[in-house]
């Protein structure tokens, strides 16, 4: 037995109040972890984005196509290591028209050279290259749809009408969160040859890899200048700049979420402070007895702070224990599978969990500071006279 264990036992004095407070802390922690993970998961897309990749699109808008020969011309620019192009295909699974996944027409060799974080067994890559109707699909999508290598798949075109037949040649995964693992990639030639002549040889956008990431901004300018005098001009941007500009639109929202997560913790601190203050008030007489026996104000102070820390830690740990199944397994899996583009990687960071626990303890101590100080400063005779 020591003062710390007495502090912990005092927590259990009023079971209902202790339980409600611990639950309150736990819920606040879950909310904090959730919001922080949203922020982190959004910004991680920027951090994870490759700095050696640049995207090139129509200057006016993403949805207007570029001529195919632009890709060949960009390939000639010194400093480029790989160039790939893609068309947005926008097909749907006729079995489930509401289910969104990215369908794109690409050149196998090029796309795999540019997105080197994409991982596919080599024999599947070979099979994909050999099969004109072959498709390479992300593992998350394959799992959701129950597709296996060799499966025949029929998709319904939206931009390019009609039913399109494919065969799953391979299933890819990615070593970084920069690639959507719910993608459906198929041969650009398969699409191009099926189109009426005047729609052929057009591409949606170009993605290039550069040898020296520090020169990517300069290369972007070189590219845009090269096409400046043509009918169709380009807009080039590094992948990171693209992500950042996309995130920029949400930065106010992210700041607000940040703020709300702090406000939640502050409210938690107030709840905790109130619980501690109530307990301290009820135990005034006991503190008087302890002081009479010879305990010092500092002992009382530490005992109240210890009590608050105990509540904070129990609530905090419970909150974290709840956060993992709720945030990671429940919501996280849902978001990764259904909104993988926006939340490529929705996981609780150890730093977020650590911060949650540390802030809880700090807030608990802060919230308990006033009641603890009051209890320590009580006049011994007065508190003994008070019948409690």
């Amino acid at each position: 037995m020591n003062l710390a264990s007495i502090a912990v036992r005092n927590v259990g004095r009023n079971r209902v109040r202790a339980l409600l407070t611990v639950l309150g802390v736990a819920i606040a922690i879950v909310a904090f972890v959730l919001l922080r993970t949203v922020v982190w998961s959004w910004t991680v897309a920027i951090e994870q984005s490759a700095s050696d990749r640049i995207g090139i699109r129509h200057k006016v808008t993403m949805i207007m196509p570029l001529p195919l020969r632009y890709a060949e011309e960009i390939r000639q620019i010194p400093g480029m290591t790989a160039v790939a192009y893609a068309n947005w295909f926008g097909a749907k699974d006729p079995r489930d028209e509401n289910d969104f996944f990215a369908t794109m027409a690409v050149e196998p060799d090029d796309i795999l050279a540019v997105y080197d974080e994409v991982q596919v067994p080599p024999e599947q890559v070979e099979a994909w290259k050999q099969n004109r109707r072959g498709a390479l699909v992300g593992d998350v999508l394959a799992k959701k749809k129950g597709w296996k290598v060799g499966d025949k798949v029929r998709l319904r075109g939206t931009i390019y009408p009609g039913d399109w037949e494919f065969e799953i040649s391979g299933i890819y995964t990615a070593s970084r969160a920069t690639v959507d693992r719910s993608g459906f990639w198929f041969h650009w030639k398969y699409l191009n040859e099926a189109l009426p002549p005047r729609q052929r040889d057009q591409i949606g956008w170009i993605v290039a890899r550069v040898a020296d990431p520090s020169r990517s901004a300069q290369l972007c300018r070189t590219i845009d200048e090269k096409f400046a005098e043509r009918d169709i001009q380009t807009l080039s941007m590094s992948e990171r700049a693209l992500q950042a500009s996309f995130m920029g639109m949400f930065s106010a929202v992210l700041d607000a979420i940040d703020l709300v997560s702090i406000v939640i913790l502050a409210i938690m601190g107030l709840i905790l402070g109130n619980t501690i203050a109530m307990g301290v008030r009820e135990r005034t007489h006991e503190y008087g007895v302890l002081r009479a026996i010879g305990f010092m104000p500092k002992h009382i102070l530490l005992s109240v702070l210890g009590e608050a820390t105990a509540v904070g830690v129990v609530g905090g740990v419970l909150g974290l224990l709840l956060s993992y199944p709720l945030v990671e397994r429940g919501l996280g899996r849902f978001l990764e599978e259904n909104m993988g583009g926006m939340f490529p990687y929705f996981r609780i960071q150890p730093a977020v969990a650590g911060a949650a626990l540390a802030l809880t303890v700090l807030l608990a101590l802060g919230a308990a500071a006033i009641p603890a100080y009051r209890a320590a400063k009580l006049n011994v005779v007065d508190s003994l006279r008070r019948v409690g």
Binding site: M1, N2, R9, R13, A292, I293, G294
Partner: protein, 229 residues
Amino acid sequence: MTQATNGTPMIRLEKVSKTFYRDKEALEVLKSIDLEIQEGAYEALMGPSGSGKSTLLNLIAGLDRPTSGKLTVAGADIGAMAEDQRARFRAANIGFVFQTYNLMPVLTARENVELPLLLAKLPADERRKRAEIALKVVGLEHRMDHLPRQLSGGQEQRVAIARAIVTDPKIIVADEPTGDLDRESANEILNLLERLNREFKKTIVMVTHDPAAAERAGTVRRLDKGNLV
């Protein structure tokens, strides 16, 4: 009327006054008290409600400081001591017995008795041993692991007495220790206090309303409106 005095004053008050201020209104509760209590004495303090008995006892116990006058207890000048010094003084010299027992409800009997020893930096097994000895003295060795709410009032007060003696203090102050007890339990407590005085040579100052309790003490003093009469 037996007490183990040996002629040296353990407690000495010279013109001790205590005034409380409530909303700027002064209330002189003790008026220039002169008092000497010998080492080993067993004294009872009686008097009407509000006469200042508890206030006087609190001064002797080092819980409070006199407004004026000189107060010496166990050789220490209480009036000159700062808060922390008085806390150390109390831990070393005073055992408290209150009317309402004042045990910690979350601690077992043994733990309650151990409580004052936490200040003494003793190893845990030594604390435990001493607490058990003290509980044996009060005859509660079979109730050591009970919580206060599992004990009768008389038993609770005996635990409180064990807590008061576990540090082996020179002085025991008891403020109406039998006030909440039935006759039989009260007698047990009074027997115990008597034994502590005789066998263990504790100096005891006890405030009481109960003439039967006062009878057990070696000396009975009366306080009226802040004056010893």
